[in-house]
Symmetry: C2
Subunit: 510 residues, 2 copies
């Protein structure tokens, strides 16, 4: 049998009846309605019968069968669909590893050469045959019929050879094919599991997920590194514009940006729901082409009401990171192992308490070790990346909290320390090899103090003041950079290799 | 005792030691290093001890205690923190319902008048006292000490009176305070649970979550209703611009839009991971001010490889919606009940198969009932909202699939029907009262056919063709509008009342 190159077309659903409502029905209006109702009922009964047939049809069992094979399935006839991962030729047969993308769920297929199989790596096929036991005691499929969905060849430009390791920079050139590269498909599975585990953790702790807006008229941090959003259709703008509004602000009647943080909106929700979080995309219009920066990245942000001490926030963050990591190690052992071995990472930090330094202490440590650094140590400028990584190593290689930051370095909403009003009750969490992965603080909840510290934008932020005007409470919160957490977890070098479709300055392909 | 109006300040963490690395250490470099290492170890030991103290500190048990009160807690001293929901004055006491936002988890507080409590509804307080049994057999807290965090009064502008019902349009004027309005806080809880349940459902069925990009250089549908994205900082653009690139495209070196669908990117992932989905924000620059349109909304999109029949897709969508709804009814019974009673919704559709009509059949039904409609029935123009809602009612009030659509009405990537090349294997799912909540189709997986149907943008979509060039497989997928699902589920009238911070034409406040 030759390989069959399918041109897949859809069977149109057979219309087995003449549609009653298309018929001309004469007579009085009342009679017409009587007939209409009668025909409608006949028609609906037919509909339901037909639907029932569809529901009883289930082809998915066939496809998802690979991971469920057991020894007592031997002798059974099955069909597998997937991609050829590797091919080994023997005298009378070829051996094929078939996978549907999940590394550990591949099955060996034995194809007699008389079937004339044209199955290079990357080819997608359906194989029918019987399960049998190989001489080595493995379950394999003895192919009786092969159907090729789509061929794949490096001669025609497919960039990955089977079982070959490529540099991340090479793989990244082919964003649309990168999910097929084994190591990156493992990354995608770990990332997916991490997302789920984070949602489950917050849910189990009584947090409510609140989708903060991506489009916002507030520029929360006032940092200026923001993207503005304008409809592409100029005619639409002209059509919508109102008096005294600039044309490019016509759609929303105000200037609109992509969110740099959901914090302010989360605070509004925390003032009712007590403990809230959001997991979503965030944006920075910053010309930073480093291994740690993306223009679009994911943040886990949380706000907690009735939170009065930085120590509580520290505890919440540490528990979150440890608990999520432990769950992930359970769920994705194989996929994580792939990275552990190569990147020499360990998880000894899971059993230790995260060290805590004040900002002043950290500056002191850096100054005493200044011969190690290329960058200056300046109390008012914060840490450079090499400083951050040094501090973590200095504290034993566990993630390390830096608390009580100079007020001048932090945004207006952070609460002053009690005995030192030049400092705010803020924290950064630094991770080995990565540096900052979390930032957080207590929020200023005194109406007068907050009002006095508001930037010029204060009119736009009247609503934020209102949160303190009506039933205000002490709150605190933090943001965890999701990709930076994955970098740290898996010991990956470049953040572009932790997200399916990375965007960075001068790069937004696909 | 008077109410104490707290100005919450943070205790700076006490620095109990002199930092050893701040000392001047003289001697040879070797000796210096020896001392440095020794002091460092002493320092780190201190750090760990201090951290341990923090970890053993847990104030959160106090706050989250409300939902965990049992009869055997009677007599215990506790502290609750929350917002006053309602106040009833009696001769010697006042009765307060305290909540921290979760309607069913409120507790009754009995406050002796001698404490002089100033607790209007909306006020945030901490109450210390003993649990006791009221004459009616309810557990309540007998207050001994009250601390007021933040007062709240309608005289100063707070817009909600306790136990009063307001029109959604009124509540919507106060987006930042809306989470405090009971019914909306229930909505937020149902929405949060729905998000989690959807993630759990896909995970249990073996799907991988893939974050498709928000920023994209592809305009997938080619519909023109897109937002473009530009850095706000013009100096940055001038700095970054390269030869032959327009200034406003300088940041990414290409024109960049907000995603209208993650489908094409999901297809890339499905060609490796088999079954994938994404749950995230999507954008439309469309001047539609209706009860069913938002400029920023959430979509659940999924792509499945080796999917060859529209019937399979129908089954997957129907299972998803029924399974998610059943889980939600279990988890959020009270919150959903709040909407059911008022909006007269039922869930009888959960036990029925969803009817299926072909597009032609649907047009036939509409034509036979044309006296019911204000809008024209035109085979080439699709359905108006009143048509959609009529069709659902006609088919018995269950969500109804419309399949096999005219090719001219649908995008280039949809697969033609086998026996009718003027139709494509596409589906819409129409829900009672809402109309379209799902759109989906089989995708054209034949390289040549797809190439011939590609729009002018074909150069930009070379990567999409590649998916068919290398190991291509039949795929299909769909997108579910999350807010429209919530509208349908809860019988809410306006989509702006299903999302925390709605954005629509001329409106992007906060």
């Amino acid at each position: 049998m030759n390989d069959e190159l399918f041109i897949n077309t859809v069977q149109k659903y057979p219309a087995v009846w003449t549609h009653p409502t298309n018929k001309e029905i004469s007579g009085s209006c009342r009679l017409l309605n009587f007939f209409k109702e009668m025909f409608k009922n006949i028609f609906l009964n037919r509909l339901r019968t037909r639907t029932f047939d569809l529901i009883s049809y289930n082809s998915r069992n066939v496809v998802t069968g690979i991971e469920n094979i057991h020894n007592n399935d031997i002798g059974k006839e099955v069909e597998f669909k997937g991609w050829v991962k590797s091919v080994r030729k023997h005298k009378e047969n070829i051996f094929v590893d078939l996978s549907y993308g999940i590394v550990k769920d591949k099955v060996q297929i034995l194809i007699p050469l008389k079937l004339n199989p044209q199955v290079s790596p990357g080819t997608s096929i359906a194989v029918k045959g019987r399960l049998h036991l190989s001489p080595r005691g493995q379950i394999e499929l003895l192919a009786e019929r092969i159907k090729v969905f789509g061929k794949c060849s490096m001669e025609e430009g497919y960039p990955f050879a089977p079982r070959k390791t490529y540099a991340p920079e090479y793989v990244r050139q082919y964003l649309h094919l990168r999910p097929r590269y084994n190591k990156f498909s493992s990354l995608l599975k770990v990332r997916s599991a991490a997302e789920l585990v984070i949602h489950e953790y917050f849910n189990s702790e009584g947090y409510i997920s609140v989708h903060t807006p991506i489009l916002t008229s507030n520029d929360c941090e006032g940092a200026g590194e923001i993207f503005k959003v304008i409809p592409d259709n100029e005619a639409l703008l002209t059509d919508m514009v109102r008096e005294k509004v600039p044309l490019h602000e016509a759609f929303f009647n105000t200037k609109v940006f992509l969110s740099v943080s959901g914090q302010l909106h989360l605070e509004a929700a925390a003032h009712s729901l007590h403990k809230v979080y959001t997991f979503g995309p965030t944006f920075r219009a910053e010309n930073s082409k480093t291994r740690l920066h993306l223009s679009e990245f994911y943040m886990v942000e949380s706000e907690i009401a009735f939170l009065e001490k930085l120590e509580e926030l520290i505890q919440i963050i540490e528990e979150l990171i440890k608990s999520v990591t432990k769950s992930l190690l359970n769920r994705c052992e194989d996929d994580i192992q792939l990275f552990c071995t190569e990147n020499k990472i360990s998880f000894t930090w899971l059993d230790k308490n995260f060290p805590i330094l004040t900002y002043s202490e950290a500056i002191g440590i850096l100054k005493s070790n200044r011969e190690n650094f290329k960058t200056d140590i300046d109390y008012n400028k914060g840490f450079s990346k090499e400083h951050e990584i040094f501090l973590v190593n200095y504290c034993g290689g566990s993630p390390t909290f830096i608390i009580n930051w100079p007020k001048v370095m932090k945004p207006f909403y952070m609460k002053e320390c009690e005995d030192e009003d030049t400092e705010v009750a803020a924290l950064d969490l630094l991770a080995p090899g990565v540096g900052e992965i979390v930032g957080g603080s207590l929020r200023e909840n005194n109406y007068i103090k907050l009002k006095n510290r508001l930037p010029k934008l204060s009119e736009q932020l009247e609503w934020y003041l209102d949160l303190r005007k009506y039933g205000g409470v002490p709150t605190g919160g933090f943001g965890l950079g999701f990709e930076r957490y994955l970098l740290f977890l898996l010991g990956i070098n470049n953040i572009k290799d932790t997200i399916p479709f990375p965007r960075w300055p001068h790069n937004c392909s696909l």
